[in-house]
Amino acid sequence: MDLHEKRIPIIKIRDFLIVSIQVDMHDKLAIQLQSQILEEIGRTGAKGVLIDISVLEMVDSFIGRMLSGMASMASIMDAAVVIVGMQPAVAITLVELGLEMPGVDTALNMEKGMEMLEKRLKDLEHNFF
């Protein structure tokens, strides 16, 4: 695996961006992904972001901070972020580490995450009209 060359693809499906993190990210890659996603939100007007971390074997304070920072920046841009598929061992370790990740919604899998976002979008439309 060449750690230097990895770039994480972002896919847009309807109103949502879908990101699947498939590599153990070094810090610059995590920062790059954060700004890449925010740029895509701005460019496409996406209303939600699903980030699949089911293959991530660890989330340390840096990656945790990147994820929660991204969630709060995305919400300023009117997009919701849902973290999908966090492994139980990762969740346990995050709590013990002391990271709360405020403002970060999580879902068991992609389908549940998509449902969360769609429900949110529907609620927003109802409030608007």
Binding site: E96, G98, L99
Partner: protein
Amino acid sequence: MLELAPDRNFELLGEYAIETEYDIVMARQTVRQFAKKAGMGIVDQTRITTAVSELFRNMYNYAGGGKVLIERGDVESHDALIITCIDHGPGIENLELAMSDGYTSGMGMGYGLPGTKRLVDRFEIQSKINEGTTVRIMKWK
């Protein structure tokens, strides 16, 4: 170099330099492999991997890098994985403060050191201003 109880007899599994962000990733993956080999469960593997990631990043951020020793040995009749992080950075002025939740001298959240301590079975730290910092953690099944 600071010495942390050098009288124990551990088997050296590997020695690695942390000089770049890639080294942090490679070294934490190496630690996970050794934890797996030592028969640790998935949660303990994740704990030790996360703990070392915090320590490696501290070395990289605050000391410009450092050295990692991975050892295995008997600690109070436990089959332990022992990881020692040695740097020759600026040292930590107030260890008690650095070990408290939420304290950071930089842009972090200040959970690296106290969080690491919660994730392992033993945590030892020594630091001397202008000489460097050594952190040694141990984890067993």
